[in-house]
Amino acid sequence: MKGGWPRRLLAAHAALVYLFLYAPIAILVVFSFNASRQTAFWTGFTLDWYRRLLGNELLFRAVRNSLVVAGAATVLAVLLGTPAALALARYPFRGRRATQALLYLPVIITEVVLGAALVTFFGAVQLRLSLWTVVIAHVVFSVSYVAIVVRARLAGLDPALEEAARDLGAGPFETFRRVTLPLATPGILASALLVFTLSIDDYVITSFVAGVGATTLPLHIYSMLKVGVTPEVNAVSTLLLAGTVILIVLAHRLLGKGQP
């Protein structure tokens, strides 16, 4: 076989990369069914950790908080970020470049700094920390992601399509509703997915701004570290992973439909 060994080498390299990426996750899933409390040995199969999960109110509340925050932050960030992306992509206005640069700031800025800044801000306006301050904080960094992703999508669209719609007699709103928005939808969905994932993951900023009753899943898992990670954490991570995979598959289907 001509060029056989470089090919095989490449395949082996790819396999190693995937192993590197997925082996820890696979181990996490496997050990969520481990009968032993220790994460070091396999002693037998059990569903006990999932059963204990059902009885763990604090953990459940943390999952619920995470879903509420991620859901609310996603909706708000998309509602605020999409118009921003449209404005930046389509309309020249004074200070556009500055606005654009400022949009990148929350993405670039260190999370610790953003968290500290937000908590100082909440202190200055005397807004008591709660689940809503977490939502606000997540919207702050999420809007930028939405604006950047949606803007990239809009930049890739042929302006001739919108011009054609207007030539054919569509008003600005109709052009937006029937041409621009459907074309931008894959970008909006992708950004929503990204924001949801970022929000459900976030520890640093959340740890600064969470108030009474606002312990999210990452906060809860970190706080469990003091007594050691139990397979209960593996179990809840596995469930979360399953949820994420379902979301991604759904998103892929949706995006696939949007494109011919």
């Binding site: 032993s36 409390r37 220790q38 994460t39 070091a40 040995f41 109110e57 604090l58 708000l76 605020l80 118009p83 921003a84 908590v119 100082t120 909440f122 202190g123 005397q126 807004l127 008591r128 920390l129 709660s130 809503w132 301050t133 939502v135 606000i136 740890s207 600064f208 969470a210 108030g211 009474v212 009753g213 606002a214 312990t215 906060l219 809860h220 970190y222 706080s223 469990m224 570290l225 003091k226 007594v227 050691g228």
Partner: protein, 341 residues
């Protein structure tokens, strides 16, 4: 867009700005520090709802209280953190008249340097630093010397924490863990440098699991995590506070400056000082409580577990880690030398 923001802000303000009901207490506490049945019993008895949030470090408490907008009524900082919180005025001074059960506390944990006269805090649980080890392989161990014994080369784990590592060396030298004499500290650093080639790893987060997995046979560590792995393999593993003594830590209940449910906070603190509640807490969380009156009600197994309740003569030789001021820099520098060798 600006309008939208204002509307959003107004909505959020309206939803969080409502005044708290008098019948709740917001508790910010370490994970696994408050058993469910204790919360339920308190709620049944007083009608006060307990909202529990958990944190993973003392620094988290500091950050929350410094924000000035955290809505917590009871927090549980460790000894050294109170030393920071009290001068900054972040916790209230306590009205002892509202805590009639304060008298149940063991005087050994009262009136410490971090809060003289317990004007701001009430000791809750305490613990020690010691050695977790494989007793099946090594036989009984009772001294920090074991961690410096060439016999165990490559089987030793040390906490990746300068004060704890120096603490072990200083205690072995018969000195205080709060020693400030640079000459003595340099001597301790030499011991740690000589020890380094025996040490398999420096680790402060996963030490108990590494011991349980058999990666090391001797692990310096905090008693909570070690007691946990020992309880799952009591035939193989053991925990000991060396006879020279180790570090002692105390976690304390305190009321933040801005607490809005003051009556409920006092009711809650006094409730956990009752012998029955205090015993339920210790039985549920497997940490030693500071409550003397609760001792007879605590499970014998827990009461007599030296990994949880260090024997009195050992405890007498344990010390709280104190702020060393400028000496901290010297220790950090010496520790860097040890690690960089």
């Amino acid at each position: 867009m600006k309008k939208g923001f204002l509307l959003l802000a107004a909505l959020l303000l309206a939803s969080c700005g409502k005044s708290p009901s008098a019948r709740q207490v917001n508790v910010y506490i370490w994970t696994n520090y408050l058993p469910k049945e204790v919360i339920e019993d308190f709620q049944r008895r007083t009608g006060i709802t307990v909202n529990v949030d958990t944190y993973d470090s003392n620094e988290a408490v500091l950050a929350k209280l410094q924000s000035g907008v955290a809505d917590y009524d009871v927090v549980v900082p460790s000894d050294y953190m109170l030393k920071t919180l009290i001068p900054q005025g972040l916790v209230r001074s306590l009205d002892r008249a509202r805590l009639p059960h304060f008298k149940n506390l063991d005087p050994r944990f009262l009136d410490q340097k971090y809060d003289p006269g317990n004007a701001h805090s009430v000791p809750y649980v305490w613990g020690t630093t010691g050695i977790g080890y494989d007793k099946k392989k090594l036989g009984p161990i009772d001294s920090w010397r074991a961690l410096f014994d060439p016999k165990y080369a490559g089987r030793i784990l040390m906490l990746d924490d300068p004060r704890e590592a120096f603490g072990a060396a200083l205690k072995l030298m018969g000195k205080s863990i709060n020693e400030k004499d640079p000459a003595v500290l340099r001597q301790a650093a030499e011991m740690l440098k000589a020890q380094k080639k025996l040490v398999r790893t420096y680790n402060s987060s996963d030490f108990a699991n590494l011991l349980a997995a058999g990666d090391v046979d001797l692990a310096q560590g905090w008693n909570g995590e070690l007691a946990e792995v020992v309880s799952h393999a009591p035939d193989r593993l053991a925990y000991v506070v060396p006879k020279e003594g180790g570090t002692l830590w105390i976690d304390n209940l305190a009321i933040p400056k801005g607490a809005r449910n003051l009556d409920a906070a006092y009711a809650f603190i006094d409730y956990v000082l009752e012998p029955e509640a205090a015993a339920k807490i210790v039985n549920g969380i497997h940490y030693a409580g500071a409550n003397q009156a609760a001792l007879p009600l605590i499970d014998q197994k827990i009461r007599q577990d030296p990994a949880i309740y260090a024997p009195k003569e050992v405890l007498d030789r344990c010390e709280l880690i104190e702020d060393l001021g400028k000496t901290t820099q010297l220790i950090d520098q010496l520790w860097t030398e040890v690690k960089a060798q």
